[in-house]
Symmetry: C2
Subunit: 195 residues, 2 copies
């Protein structure tokens, strides 16, 4: 990995943990294994590092939810739906990179309009749009009752977003949280699936 990439990686880790203002360039440099002034061979300044990070958060969003490719084939049963949804959530919750981006965004969301907009996309648009399509498909294939897929996607995803953000701040409850999430998803199926 190039030094430039390593700087971005360590900066994201530190920003996620202590916020932008709570992190010094010296700390970043130390984690990379260089001295602070050497950072300036790769970036114009601290703000420039942050902007590059925002770009990469944006790129990450695009590659995760930008196209509809990522849906794969539609779940074919209730159990299939619960299983694929839970594993998607477990992945999102535990993947270190995704977790750092989430923690970074949530702390810096008020810094500027671009960060605000990206945070909304990550929290409200991304997974929800995806599940809108999945649910819509499953309505057509007769597994879900007919209803507004957008509203159902919101009802499915919102509690998950809140629980995952609880897990970000209180990781000791991860297991209970996963149980709550599964209970919620099963209840969702009880209400909106046929039979």
């Amino acid at each position: 990995m190039s030094t430039k990439d390593k700087i971005l990686e360590e900066a994201l880790t530190l920003f996620a943990e202590n916020g932008y203002d709570g992190t010094g360039v010296e700390q970043i440099a130390e984690k990379v294994g260089i001295k602070a002034p050497s950072l300036y061979k790769h970036f114009k300044g601290k703000e420039d590092i942050m902007n590059a990070l925002i770009d990469s958060a944006e790129a990450h969003y695009e590659s995760s939810f930008g196209s509809s490719e990522h849906i794969g084939k539609l779940p074919e049963s209730r159990d299939d739906f619960v299983r694929t949804t839970m594993s998607r959530i477990a992945f999102t919750m535990h993947d270190p990179m995704i977790r750092k981006i989430r923690k970074f965004l949530v702390q810096e969301q008020f810094r500027n309009d671009r960060l605000a907009e990206i945070t909304t996309r990550h929290q409200l648009v991304g997974i929800q749009k995806m599940y809108e399509k999945i649910i819509e498909g499953m309505m057509k294939s007769g597994l879900f009752i007919h209803d507004d897929p957008a509203l159902l996607a919101i009802e499915l995803v919102s509690p998950v977003v809140l629980w995952v953000s609880k897990a970000d701040r209180e990781p000791q409850y991860e297991q209970e949280i996963m149980e709550c999430i599964e209970k919620h998803i099963r209840h969702f199926c009880d209400v909106y699936m046929k039979e």
Copy 2:
């Protein structure tokens, strides 16, 4: 209002806007109308101001959701439920004090365990426990179908929490957001209310 209270008020405003690390004691003092060293006649230091603010956020939570008194009488019809719920949300969303506490907590939630725990209580426990009781009561009075009140409260409240936090970062969309929320609540009633 005492100088001490004014310091807390202005500190909260600034912390909500720029975060703890993004706010200087000089800025706080200026807004209060004194010089920075005078702050130290009222607080031991910057951290002490923050701790007092956390106490007041805690007290605010207690007075809002600590007792069951705040439910008032149960809604007696679907329209009544939608109306009272929407007005509670509008109040929570617009009240400047509540908004500042929300923005402060969301930015500082990772700073220490106490902040993490209070953030969870504000975001996940507070309104949800309240609606758990309301929904439970309305199940008994036959307005809602019989189901787990805790799960229903989560489904009702979670999307609202996410939309309100979007309104905090992008206030220009407040109106659309209120429309989305109302649509969601009406849909919730369609699904879980009798007739």
